[in-house]
Amino acid sequence: MRRRKFLMGAGGICVGLPMLRTFYDGRDARAAGGDNEPTRIITMAYPMGTHLPFWTPDAVGSEFNLGTITEPLAPFVDRCALISNCPHSVYDLGGGSYVYGHPAKKEGTLTGTLLQSAFTGDGSNTVENVLPDSNPGDEVQTPNGPSVDHVIGEGLITSQHQRASVDLGVAGAGGPAGVQNSSFFYEAAANPVTLSAHPGQAFVSLFSAVTPDDGEVDEVFMALQRRRKSVLDAVRESFVDLRQGLDASDRAVLDDHADKIRQIELDMPPLAACSLPEGIPEADEAYANMPMTEFGDLTNRLMAHAMGCGIAPVGRIEYTGQQNPYFGIPTVDDGVTALGGDWHQAVHADGVAPDADLRTYGFQFFVQQFADLMGYLDAIVEGPDGRTALDNSLMLLASDYGEGNGHASRDLCFVVAGGSGPGRRNFHFDGQNNTVNDVLTTLIQMACVTHKDGSPIEEFGLAGFGAAPISELLV
């Protein structure tokens, strides 16, 4: 593993982070700048939904009992808000196949919009451009806008961060899956986030810049950094020359890439003596037949330490195995095997009782992973007042379905967690009179991310759809 160190102030190398171009409707996002604001957003997404009677708390408001599936949140319920039964109404604009079935669901969960193929006119992400009854089809497509985590991240990133995001995937079928395109997370329309689903490789990539011990200047390393920065300067300048004489859409592609080069051009400050996660195997063989209980734990620890080291303001974990993930939970795995099918089939099969253990504990698994991640973050102290990484985070647990057995998206549920910002905690909210776009807009306000002029971002997702923050979820 190559060691890299980044020192502040030596040789005039350290420069501030250049202004980032936003991809969100041309508005610049920034953090509002107050105390007790989240410094990061961490989102965990998983497929196939849940079983609502066992997910939903028994009452709305602040006095409630968790369901069987959400029981793992108990140690942290004072820092959680549960949102149940929320329809993703934007799908109604797309026609029948947008409401039912799998296509477009993952893509729409965190972006609040439809697939690009559902739009006409100039293709912009507005209600006016939506084609009625467009039908998503079966081919893999991309949504017409970024996911909410990306927008929040644009407002939270600072010159102290090494990169824009930490993006990890948990492969379902046992064994590392290398690099994969996300189905839930997008930096822009047609630009899915790429996930690393190999913990060993992710460890090397994320932590090669961490120096947990001394702070001596390494001249060889400094020379490397000078070369990197100068080369990146030249690469970015060469985009200017290249775009001459191209048409507008081609120039936009180059401009987008040049912006990303700009993002890399950081003189990294020295990372604090942050701890590295231990016991992350490097070899592919270590992951052969690894169950998700173990794979997910490695991923959680990588994420927690990466966040604790301040590597990025955005963390994403996606469970990518929809068809037949290997849970590592005998009740679930043996139950699925006994059915002769796979997890996806077990969730949808009419012959399986809705409250069957194999479903309940399969669905609970994802909530448990979220709770475990909260635990790892809560173990990282981030300030003299004892605030932890969990306290300073805004977290979101989301899935593309509410009731997994059905194929409709009229009852999505979310867990919002973390200890900072104006979001209400220790609270259960019934979202049946709101929309998923309202939830996503509320999340942006919970993150204290505003327009550049300080005005609040009032609508996220499909523009003109009418999303608005949910006041009951904000204090």
């Binding site: 196949s97 081919e139 060469s238 592609v253």
Partner: protein, 559 residues
């Protein structure tokens, strides 16, 4: 589809003046094929083209829009393999971490498969950094190899003396065109800056590191131009790049560059000449290997897991590699025809797949190979619907219509879960009114292929029951009763639809995009040529190369 004549014209930096020459392009088929299109014109010059080396003119009213593309990860690696000298090149490619192109639809050449996310831009920078580090570690041996001006035991001042020539020569090959003044200045300033603080060796490494991630290497850029009626003939160097990416998956070779330099890449004759020349070079096998691997979704097998006695490390590696190997065989060993591709019984079998193929079965062509059967399957069972839908969409270019908006997928189908075979379990889809409209025409395409399991091994039973491989098909010219998949595939291979779809797939692969309505005229010409050549795949590629869509682009709005 309509055709019209356009005025010939030239581009300023090559010919210096507009030409107004009446006449039409009288055809570009080989001498074995039928003759001219258009309404008369210039005298035939003996090769059937009649364009006398004059710049090509449009034959169609319109062509589809072409957006900016980045080279795929395969193309990047091949470009590096051809750009760098052998020893350093081998080490560089071993260290390369260039992000892999992830195919989500279509081919690896599609623009959408090669967008640049934040993580990918970091990976590209890491890639260049890693290769530069390798160069520096072995600079004593690598530098004289990379920079011919340097000899063993070179000094810093030797590098200073050679750098301008290196930037100019290497840069022209890396960028696939001569460097502009601005680019030359940018790079020499980079060299000077780094050399001033860290020495000439670091400066040379920085220049290399720049080239490895420079946008002119990464992107296939084509100028807007100012052609009449909204279309521009590509500049010669732009044509050279398109030809080289199609026929070698790499940058233009020396002969192609010479043709550009000498003004011999302006007419359809010129393009045809280079296309045929390149088809005879070893590099052309790459296009065949890559295209067939991707067309048949061989990329699925890279990360796939199959629960099966015959799924071993060896066999899975063999399956993942099979389609590329067969693409190569089609190019090098067969008669290169569509019919052979689809119906041959002579495909070589990889040793690692001997056990799978040893299970028997009557196979035909590419569709019934073990790798295709394995890629169109689930982890522990076949996927009849997926295979049927694949044939419709990818082999007949007639995808199933989308799910109707009024279909309630939560509705209960007749419970056939106790049926031992997939055909039986899915029978309800062919009898339930809301589903039967699509599934009666689609499902039978997969019945015969059920005899090949989820690793492509032959079987006659499923769960103890005999697999019924008979099928009644009613899809245009593919109609009739078929006893098994081999009969069906033979009939499929003989249809115009399948042949035309194959031409369309190559068009998509070449252009890096799906066809649009504006491509109807161009595609029609290409399909006619392919049919007239009796399905000769090489002739198809030549037809694509000399087509309007390949040689022209829409004139967009520039700054």
């Amino acid at each position: 589809m309509s055709r019209r004549r356009t005025r010939d014209w030239g581009w300023a930096w090559t010919l210096g003046a507009l030409l107004t020459v009446p006449g039409c392009y009288s055809g570009h088929q080989s001498s074995a094929t039928a003759g001219a299109e258009g309404d008369g014109g210039d005298a035939d010059d003996g090769d059937g083209s009649g364009d006398d080396g004059e710049p090509a003119t449009l034959e169609c009213d319109e062509i589809g829009a072409q957006s900016l593309r980045r080279v795929s990860s395969d193309q990047y690696r091949q470009i590096l393999a051809d750009l760098l000298p052998p020893q350093f090149g081998e080490a560089a490619l071993a260290a390369s971490t260039f992000p892999a192109t992830l195919i989500t639809s279509g081919f690896s050449t599609y623009a959408v498969a090669n967008t640049v996310s934040s993580n990918e831009s970091i990976a590209m920078e890491d890639n260049a950094d890693a290769i530069a580090a390798v160069f520096l570690e072995g600079i004593d041996g690598y530098a004289p190899e990379l920079v011919p001006c340097l000899s063993t035991g070179f000094s810093d001042s030797d590098i200073d003396g050679c750098i301008d020539g290196f930037v100019s020569e290497f840069g022209a090959r890396a960028f696939r065109r001569p460097l502009t003044e601005g680019e030359t200045q940018l790079i020499t300033e980079l060299y000077a800056d780094i050399t001033a603080t860290d020495g000439a060796e670091a400066g040379l490494a920085a220049v290399l590191q720049f080239f490895l991630q420079a946008p002119p290497l990464l992107y296939v850029t084509e100028r807007v131009g100012d052609g009449p009626d909204g279309f521009t003939l590509l500049a010669p160097n732009e044509l050279a790049v398109r030809l080289s990416l199609l026929f070698s998956n790499s940058a233009p070779d020396a002969e192609l560059l010479a043709a550009v330099e000498e003004g011999r890449l302006v007419s359809r004759d010129d393009v045809e000449r280079e296309a045929r020349r390149m088809l005879a070079t070893p590099g052309a096998v790459r296009a065949f290997a890559t295209f067939h691997h991707e067309w048949m979704h061989g990329f699925v097998l890279g990360d796939a897991v199959r629960i099966h006695d015959q799924w071993t490390d060896d066999s899975s590696a063999g399956l993942a590699a099979e389609l590329r190997t067969l693409g190569q065989w089609i190019f090098e060993e067969s008669d290169g025809s569509f019919h052979s591709l689809m119906s041959t019984t002579e495909f070589p079998v990889d040793d690692r797949l001997a056990d799978i193929y040893g299970t028997g079965g009557e196979r035909r062509g590419l569709l019934m190979t073990a790798s295709v059967m394995a890629s169109l399957a689930h982890e522990s069972r076949t996927s009849l619907i997926e295979r049927a839908a694949f044939i419709r969409a990818n082999v007949l270019c007639s995808p199933s219509p989308p799910l109707p908006g009024d279909v309630d997928v939560d509705g209960t189908l007749e419970d056939n879960t106790d049926e031992p075979t997939a055909r039986g379990r899915l029978q309800a889809l062919m009898t339930t009114p809301a589903c039967s409209g699509c599934h009666t025409s689609m499902n039978p395409l997969g019945f015969g292929l059920e005899a090949y399991d989820w690793v492509g091994a032959y079987r006659t039973t499923e769960n103890g029951a005999t697999i019924d491989t008979t099928a009644e098909i009613n899809l245009g010219t593919l109609s009739g009763s078929f006893a098994n998949a081999a009969e069906l595939i033979d009939a499929l291979a003989a249809t115009d639809e399948a042949r035309d779809c194959y031409a369309t797939q190559w068009f998509r692969y070449t252009m890096g995009r799906p066809e649009t309505l504006e491509d109807a005229c161009v595609l029609g010409t290409i399909k006619e040529s392919f049919a007239a050549s009796d399905g000769d795949i090489r002739e198809l590629l030549v037809a694509i190369a000399v087509s309007d869509a390949f040689m022209f682009r829409q004139t967009g709005a520039s700054e």
